[in-house]
Symmetry: C2
Subunit: 355 residues, 2 copies
Amino acid sequence: MKKLINKPEDFVRESLEGMAAAHSDLIKVHYDPTFVCRTDAPIKGKVAIISGGGSGHEPMHAGFVGMGMLDAACPGEVFTSPTPDQMLEAAKSVDGGAGIIYIVKNYSGDVMNFEMATELARGEGIRVLNILIDDDVAVKDSLYTQGRRGVGTTILAEKICGAAAQQGYNLEQIASLCRRVNLNGRTMGIALTSCTVPAKGSPTFELSDREIEMGIGIHGEPGRERMDLKSVDEITEMLTLKLIEDVGYSRIVREWDEDKGEWVDVELVDPNLERGDRILAFVNSMGGTPLSELYLVYRKLAEICSQQGLQIVRNLIGSYITSLDMQGCSITLLKLDDEMIRLWDAPVKTPSLRW
Amino acid sequence: MKKLINKPEDFVRESLEGMAAAHSDLIKVHYDPTFVCRTDAPIKGKVAIISGGGSGHEPMHAGFVGMGMLDAACPGEVFTSPTPDQMLEAAKSVDGGAGIIYIVKNYSGDVMNFEMATELARGEGIRVLNILIDDDVAVKDSLYTQGRRGVGTTILAEKICGAAAQQGYNLEQIASLCRRVNLNGRTMGIALTSCTVPAKGSPTFELSDREIEMGIGIHGEPGRERMDLKSVDEITEMLTLKLIEDVGYSRIVREWDEDKGEWVDVELVDPNLERGDRILAFVNSMGGTPLSELYLVYRKLAEICSQQGLQIVRNLIGSYITSLDMQGCSITLLKLDDEMIRLWDAPVKTPSLRW
């Protein structure tokens, strides 16, 4: 294993210490339990947005803490869910009295722990709603999930809901918006190489020099299919058509019903992508793929979207939701409406996203 | 070779086509000869800042074209200097009547071609001054250079001089500022793995699983020393101390003398870094090293600077001057003054740097 690290067991903590040293104008890092929050939190009367998940996907989530995006992030160990006490302490620390949205990627550990944290926070008198992101069209169930995995749309939901919170939306409005972003977003990824988890020290999976993994998960979990290496145009076309052709995905999610005071099952169905739709196209590096190659992906993606009558009106290209040092990329398409566009364009100031 | 590409010979052009498709609000890409320029150029009365060099270092330089930074960038083929006609056409395209600064990294091909372009542009009545960046303390001469190589400080000079131009500085003021940034900046890098040039298809050099190359060049050219893999703290300490201890570097540069109407040799000497100095610390990924590891570097760097009495007042952490998919990093320290800080903080809006 060749990495710029000290002891594998110190990797997450030391990386956060580096972040804290670098961005003390924007974020504070708390330890035991570990969470990252805005320096100016809590903000009275503002809904707070919190996310979290295993480390190894940087800059997600801690890199998105700041004005116009997250109020706090809870990093777990590498590829391991954070614990409910991290989420609870983060909530207590950034609660401005208007409630908390937990944005939760659909992995069994995260879902369970965020639900527990939701109940703990409610027990302390903090209103919390948690919204699930499950946008990965590659597989229905996987090693870490029941149902689809949560991937690229998470970043977009964090930006859009963060802007909404900054502009004074209330808890229910943001929950509804976040749910809409999730339903409107879809992602699929591909790996050219495996990632290497520091504590393990060897690649998570083996791919020959001529193989790629289509539909890879962000923890290196298997995708849809292993196939021969192809040109970027062919790979991009396969990913993009899978995204466009995905229709009517339905899932049952557990949501908190305020009136009943209990969890209820709700069915949610993705809207289809249709000719004339305006979309945000997000091309993401898995960590080891350089920007120059992402632009090759974007080039073909833009061509296909144009052929399919989809209008790319916003884009994001870079390393935002990664899998350590994995080479590969993911494509996320988010169907936009006027409100989402306005919120996407709103100012943001975080360590890894700002405009 | 595993990359997201089509034919190697189309790599640069197709990557630029992707950029053009993604960032049509900020940049225009011209072909034959190839250069990238601001959509709003030329700007009457503003000095134009142009840089360029071989491709494979993205986002440098094309990713830094836009408001408050570069007016144009001239990308060559991978690791190959652009040609004088690219530089000349870029100059003609963005000239607003107040003159042009060429920011040139010190590689023999770049230096020669930018000097030729300077003379061609002068022949067309455009005032041009070219300023050399030679900040890499690793080696005095290398495969591609006489004297030090130009690396990380280039980005900082582009940002600071771009802001100065945006604020109405004249040609001589910007030339003087750019020279000061170069003298005040110093960089050294390290590789964990080689890069792979698309047209070659195999690694530029071989490193065993236990070796690193200290003082690596951004084309994979040899550094100071090959050594056993070490912890990030040890690596960061070696790099940082080399930067801090580098004193009194002197070089002769060719500069255009307006009064004499000819090139003259000028001796320029770096100021030393001293206790109490304010610095900008720039931790850069070579392309394949993820952000989480850069924060480990920054953590130790901040500790050492503090011990040495250097005050980090600004920082930049990410993939800005890369070497395709190489794993590794570089550290740049720039000694700051009030003027540079003010210009660093000024608004910038480019594909890869914005605030």
